[in-house]
Symmetry: C2
Subunit: 488 residues, 2 copies
């Protein structure tokens, strides 16, 4: 099925060589016209699509996620690469800003100033296990970093080692064939290599999707370096969902089935899985969700480590005082879905434990007495990737909770479910800590490119010495803000 | 001269009350139309201008900076408040992005998604000693945070305590009279209060201009919190300046006088003071600079602590092996300017020590043998706020060093000097660490507002539940990107 049979760890000497190659490539990438890098991204997308028939079965074998899901995920992955190519062709991401010299400027004469974003330099990216394509070797972090013009060292996830090597080979070859310099992209593997990457002075930023524990450890290393670097960690979330009394009365069946489907999609192994469901006390929703879940068979999880973590987290929740098991309750290698319930009053006693993420097909239903109690319960929840409201038209309870949810989430949804994240200009994935270590950024959507750029201003610089985007004649036809006015 | 005679430290109980007031004000500010907040900023600017005759002498008394400089600085400060008001009136800073639902979207049907930036919540700002107006109580950090819609707790600098209280009173009254809620702004004072601020869970971000040691300590506290927060520190810089051989031959007198003036402006107490000057070996520049410096009288420094720090740093440089004193060489309360020299070869032996900032009227001239040696020397310099090249037209040496300088600075200048920072759309102040703890941000220029905002996306949300900027009818007439296309 594949020519990749054994995967060996990257040695220290190999890593050193790859880092030096990335450092050498960085100024070449920074000087490359964005539309040329767009060509590289499209070449990678084309090469992945061309190899779909080899890659998808390999991914299925290593991840247990199934061919239909993985076919859609590869489509998303190559779509994403091409969308970033479009971002490069447009060029607004460079934020070109030109202020001509002005002797009448209100605070005193102003010199000629020209500002743009430029790539940070080589970055380290950690692949995730639960998206073997879309958050892995050629996933969104890689696409946005290459779009920004930063060389990428990609730490493979041990959950899909042969797929990682196969994908990495395709990326390296496609980039080379498209004219990218050596050092633009490299795959690295090994348990200990993450620490070496994040502490290496040649690395300018890190991006990670994974567990709170592992991500926080890397964030702490990045922040405590002699020269700290940005670390973009997206560290899990319980994605609270709220059903208003009116929605519970009017749309209980639809809400129950939508919730059950979302929490069990991909065996519950999404960072956007809705793990908390707030319902009015006495509603039929817990029973309806449990009925729907009874029809969902157990399925194998991504790997043994995730199955073990899920069993432990589920056990902790199920045995918590005041929590009852309505469905399932057991972990295992191919767990059936679990539904637990508690009251908002109990939740308010120990929100920290009851918002621990159980990464798998489990959720906790929290029954609230009234809107005031619901608001108090929302008020104690930490930062989240998403927050959802199920409501009816002109629902006063939706208006009462939506602003509270927007204060603690990166994305709020009304009458939708948080799994199935689209890749668009307006998508925001990151939310306040611990959902994200860097509250101002996103790993999904076109704004993900911003993480790998920094601004530089040029003052009084002759046209010939300016980078092309800042030259007066606008040779690359970029959108610009000139003397305070946005131009197209 | 002022009604402020004694300044007492903020107590723990007072701080707790101020933080609660800020938390209560935060959602009110977030819901306020930007053009209304623009009115608040203009009201603060007007109130400061109206009290100039009281404030400027008080600032002169406490800072020793002199009335002409302080008059200009207050003008800059109120200009800056009004420029941020213009930013709010335009509204592009909200980055409103709308993607309508699209069943034909390439990766699969896309829901309606709408993204904007919203304020982070209450922020803590540390005033700087060297700009008693422009980087202090009503300075750029306060202006950009209030513009963003985040309540501000402002830690006064002990170097100008009475001016701080007087300015704080004006800000509080002007905001209240303009309709801002209580809790929008508060001044706090005290030595220990900084630690309490940066570790308090009610504070969402910190902004600081000052020493590397103090700033790094606060950065470490911000990063090691249970829930880390962004910390925007701008921690000093030696602002390397390079004179090409052609410029040294053609414009030596002009370069020498420009450099001497810039390094002694404000008694050398600017974070953008040029502290390193690279000149071709054998050039007349060191002697010419020394001649010009001989005409600059010693002047009192901001305060005793800064004078002590300067004397220590100057002494360390002057006694370093391979460094010679060409002019001055002594610290003191009102130090005469100092010029030191060394060779690039010596510099390359110990760049860490020789790039220590001496915050005061001292600079180190480094003589380089050729362009290759100059490039090597630039290559070992850490992150800087600014980097300058003095060149002639079509100067190949300028082209050879400018990209290297742009890699390690936030602002590069050609044939200018880095002091006298303008406030414009295209200004960038922050540079790579240690010049800035947050390489992607700036404390000067309109982009400073970005530090206090974070993105939120709304998915499938009925118009009535959306914040005004995201509603379909665009009630606030904001610039928007709709379905990938930037509109005006």
């Amino acid at each position: 099925m594949t020519d990749v049979d054994t995967v060996t760890d990257t040695t220290e000497a190999e890593l050193d060589g790859l880092l030096n190659a990335a450092v050498a490539a960085a100024p070449v990438l920074a000087a490359t016209r964005p539309s040329a890098r767009a060509g590289w991204l499209r070449a990678v997308a084309d090469a992945l699509d061309a190899d779909a028939e080899r890659l998808i079965p390999l991914a299925a074998e290593e991840s247990h996620l199934g061919v239909p899901r993985l076919t859609g995920e590869l489509k998303r992955t190559t779509f994403q690469l091409r969308l970033f190519a479009d971002v490069l062709d447009e060029g607004a991401y460079l934020q070109v800003t030109i202020d001509h010299a002005d002797p009448t400027w209100g605070m005193g004469p102003r010199p000629d100033l020209r500002r743009m974003l430029r790539p940070l330099g080589p970055v380290a990216i950690w692949a995730a296990s639960n998206f073997p394509f879309a958050f892995s070797v050629a996933g969104g972090d890689t696409a946005s970093a290459l779009a920004a013009g930063t060389p990428v060292l990609l730490k493979a996830h041990p959950g899909h080692p042969r797929l990682s090597v196969a994908t990495g080979d395709i990326v390296v070859k496609a980039l080379r064939d498209a004219g990218a310099p050596d050092g633009t992209f490299a795959l690295v593997t090994g348990v200990e290599i993450g620490r070496a990457l994040i502490t290496d002075p040649r690395i300018a930023a890190g991006a990670f999707t994974g567990s709170l524990k592992g991500g926080r450890a890397l964030f702490d290393l990045a922040s405590s370096r002699p020269a700290p670097i940005p670390f973009y960690g997206e560290l899990g979330s319980v994605n609270p969902s709220v059903v208003t009394p009116s929605a519970a009365a009017a749309r209980a069946e639809e809400v129950a089935s939508g919730f059950a489907d979302s929490m069990t999609l991909g065996v519950g192994q999404f960072c956007t899985k809705p793990g908390l469901l707030f319902v009015p006390a006495g509603s039929a929703l817990p029973a309806l969700v449990a009925t729907r879940l009874a029809a969902v068979a157990g399925a194998p999880m991504l790997n043994e480590s995730i199955a073990r973590g899920y069993s432990g987290a589920l056990g902790e929740l199920a045995s918590h005082e005041g929590v009852s098991v309505v469905a399932g309750g057991e972990g295992g290698d191919a767990p059936a879905p679990s539904l637990l319930t508690t009251s908002a009053a109990e939740f308010l006693k120990d929100p920290e434990t009851l918002t621990h993420e159980a990464f798998g097909p489990a959720a906790l239903v929290i029954e609230y007495a009234d809107t005031a109690e619901l608001q108090r319960a929302i008020g104690v929840i930490d930062g989240q990737l998403t927050a959802t409201v199920q409501a009816v038209d002109d629902d006063p309870d939706a208006a009462a909770v939506l602003p509270l949810l927007a204060e603690r989430a990166g994305r709020v949804l009304v009458n939708g479910w948080p799994t199935g994240v689209s890749v668009t200009w307006a998508m925001q994935h990151g939310g306040p800590y611990p959902a994200t270590t860097s509250v101002q950024t996103t790993s999904v959507g076109t704004a993900a490119i911003d993480r790998f750029l920094r601004p530089v201003s040029y003052q009084g610089t002759p046209d010939a010495l300016l980078p092309e985007p800042l030259r007066e004649s606008n040779p690359w036809s970029l959108p610009r803000r000139v003397d305070g006015v946005q131009e197209r």
